[in-house]
Symmetry: C3
């Protein structure tokens, strides 16, 4: 029996190949050597073989370059004449150029359209054209899936949920009722979207649960990393703005509004009712308090704790985050302080006496 | 085929409705306007429609209030006469009052009783009355489910596990063998309960695994957020005390004992064999070291790192957490220090010469 | 119907038993009392019964020892004569000695070999001898499972993935295509292995996704805790070295290389392209920046933020981590500073006037 679709896609050695001449044309580079040499995959210089392409952009890898068995190498101009394999393509910024090569070699395997025999489709659910629903997926009553949507194995799409065209739920994803997912969204394995927020009122000797009836809106072109959890709103909605990207194990609380094109690194936690402007960037493990506003384009360094509003465009850092420059000054002062504090105590002590 | 039960469920627009007069009676407020106006849902002022109820408790929203299309609005006494829609209920603390309205409009959809045809029930498992077991759920041998238990899609309940009356496993939950779950417990999507603790002894050139044979006890009325993980005990038990609430992505290590009514915010990590007294509150991303005691009612600020015991009732904060007041004094001193340290160095330097 | 295999499993009261004489022989201790007393489980002194074995290694538990109902107790030499139950085994370091008792009482229940009727096996997949594949597991096309591999309920093994002999995927595990898992590896519930890394290039008004075509290599004898996520490499590979152990909710980014025998505590996050030497130890919630090198045997204290290379064998700590000794000096200086800063300001102010 065929298990299909399998998760997140790219196969390692597809049937695809490129010649060195085609590579040079794709990246807009200059070919040196035999344009007919053919490659089928990408690998680092150290372990690339004759049918693989690699790149050299740093002097640190010149020794790997001399001995590499790679069929073709993208080489930065300053190393154009360095000793190494004969077949090379000279191009600015080889790593970025490689992005134009990858799609040609690693075409994503589209999940074959169709609903797996073991998938369960709830009453009244609407399925778009060319969708792929994997084994043991469960689609709730009245859910609406757009065209070319892919639902991986074991995903659960709650009652009444809407998922836009070309979105993909990789596997083991839970989408709670009350959630709307836009187009071209990718939710990685284990993502939870629309779970209840953490809200209680203490009364009668217990933490009484606040019902959550707001929605969870995931706009177009969002990608969310493995095992992240996005709560639904309490009365208002939780919104992840179009084009925003979230890494693994991120926590987004109820009523949070992310603007468009935000970048949220792994293990970030954002507390309830906080707003991020467009293009805000949070480093890994950042924590943001509740009811705050992070301005558009603001950048917060990894592991910072944000407990006040951050103006648009500024870079902040630190445990009680403040402008990065101030944090650096404080850190430097502290480092120097240790050396003088004993002397200071003597000074102060003497004056006190 | 009907996929049922679907996850965590409140539907957004149920068949239920309340008149303005009924709202006033429920919240103990004073009706202004037409008591026959009927509402079916809750929404923020900015996007509420004629069949929705909203609330006004802050002057920040007075302009939304003037233009709202909400059918009924709960209004704090100080805004009783403000310009806005005619049908309003004057009441203290509108957000709390709303908690009395929500259950009437969003009755949770009870999962229809029954075991889905695709659910697998292990040999010797005992199922209480009116339980609901969703599609593809797997119940281990000898497991015992109380009355009115709901097991969502794809959940796995391990061999011999006991789950008390009216508890709900939302979806994709794993309950390892050796776990006992109380009554009225709710485990959100992706929760793992009873996994092995992180314990090894280095011997013979490898980290030898310490077998984990303690239990994992989740007492009554506990709620655990999406993708959290609670380890079982090594020899002693791990205990989550009655009425405690844990947010998303929380880590609880082996042999931890949480008292009753604790509140544990998202992404908190508690190391092995640590004890929390009743009513302790940990902010988001707090880390607590192993073998510590956090006293009853203690409060730890977000992102703090706790490496010593915390007395009952105290509020602590900071990377090496200490009483919050001390942390503030230290922070303030540091902020002022940067301005004087250069001068201090000159002072100390001069005296040293 | 039998749900099998169930997760991670030691049963609490197996059919196994040991006499006190056998216990003494196993741990190399000295028996006092009736060697024929038989025990079947381990429990703390406070709740052990007649058929259970416990241990005493600290004076803090002497009162529990006096009243325990345990059938046999492992007792440290200094308490050999203390008042308590008659049947005891005198031995150095009772907790470690207990590790020799546990396997005899809690033989892990091997999952009965076989492929559950509901498991889906992809075209061309190869299954080793004596494997156990649980209910609703999905094995992708061309995957290769070694001998005695256990795949728990609801796991998904991607297309072309290889899993070595005797490895176990507990339940709800996702293994993306492009992953190779070694021998005797244990992946706990909800682990994601081989997910796309967090890599984008901003162009044409959007964050363009960098295709991920590197592999994710989990070497032999690795254990990974519940709900952790390990990304695949972008072009190079992500590698988790042999014998390394990762706790719950850990994030490992693309191209990270962990050496052998590393210990990674819960909620650690390691950014892209960072390398850890053999035997490195990271405390809970540590964050490590990208493109760094943590030397062999280095130890990082919990919640530290590492933003520079760490030499082999050193112990570092702190928000901007540096050698632990320096962090302690800085902390101490800061604590003393608060008491003198006002006086210092007066000093500096006076001199300035």
């Amino acid at each position: 029996m065929t298990a299909r679709p399998s998760p997140a896609g790219e196969s390692r050695h597809g049937p695809l190949a490129l010649t060195a001449a085609e590579v040079a044309r794709r990246v807009g580079g200059t070919l040196r050597g035999d344009g007919a040499v053919s490659v089928r995959a990408v690998a680092p210089l150290g372990r690339a073989g004759a049918e693989e392409i690699s790149f050299l952009s740093s002097a640190a890898y010149l020794s790997d370059f001399r001995t590499t068995r790679a069929g073709v190498v993208l080489v930065a101009p300053e190393f154009a004449e360095s000793e190494g394999p004969p077949c090379r393509v000279i191009v600015e910024r080889p790593p970025e150029a490689m992005l134009k090569v990858l799609p040609a070699l690693y075409a994503s395997t589209p999940a074959a359209p169709g609903v797996h025999a073991t998938a369960l489709i709830g009453r009244g659910a609407q399925l778009g054209r060319d969708i792929a629903v994997g084994p043991y997926a469960v689609i709730g009553e009245g859910a609406v899936l757009g065209d070319r949507v892919t639902i991986g194995a074991h995903c659960e799409v709650g009652r009444g949920v809407r998922i836009g065209d070309e979105s993909e739920l990789v596997s083991h994803v839970t989408v709670y009722p009350g959630t709307i997912v836009g187009k071209r969204v990718r939710l990685h394995a284990g993502v939870r979207v629309g779970s209840d927020g953490f809200g209680y009122v203490y009364a009668d000797g217990a933490h009484q649960k606040i019902p959550h009836v707001g929605r969870c809106l995931i706009e177009d072109d969002v990608e969310i990393g493995a095992n992240s959890a996005i709560d639904r709103g309490s009365i208002d909605d939780t919104v992840i703005g179009a084009g925003s990207k979230l890494d693994n194990l991120v926590h987004i609380a109820h009523n949070v509004h992310l603007g468009k094109l935000c970048l949220i690194a792994a293990q970030v936690g954002i507390s309830g009712s906080t707003t991020l402007g467009d293009g805000a960037v949070l480093g890994g493990q950042v924590g943001v308090g509740g009811h705050l506003t992070i301005g558009a384009g603001a950048r917060i360094a990894g592991q910072s704790g944000v407990s006040s509003d951050v103006p648009a465009g500024e870079t902040w850092s630190g445990t009680l985050a403040r402008p990065h420059r101030e944090t650096l000054v404080g850190q430097a002062a502290l480092a120097r302080l240790a050396k003088i504090v004993k002397e200071l105590e003597r000074l102060v002590g003497k004056r006190g006496s």
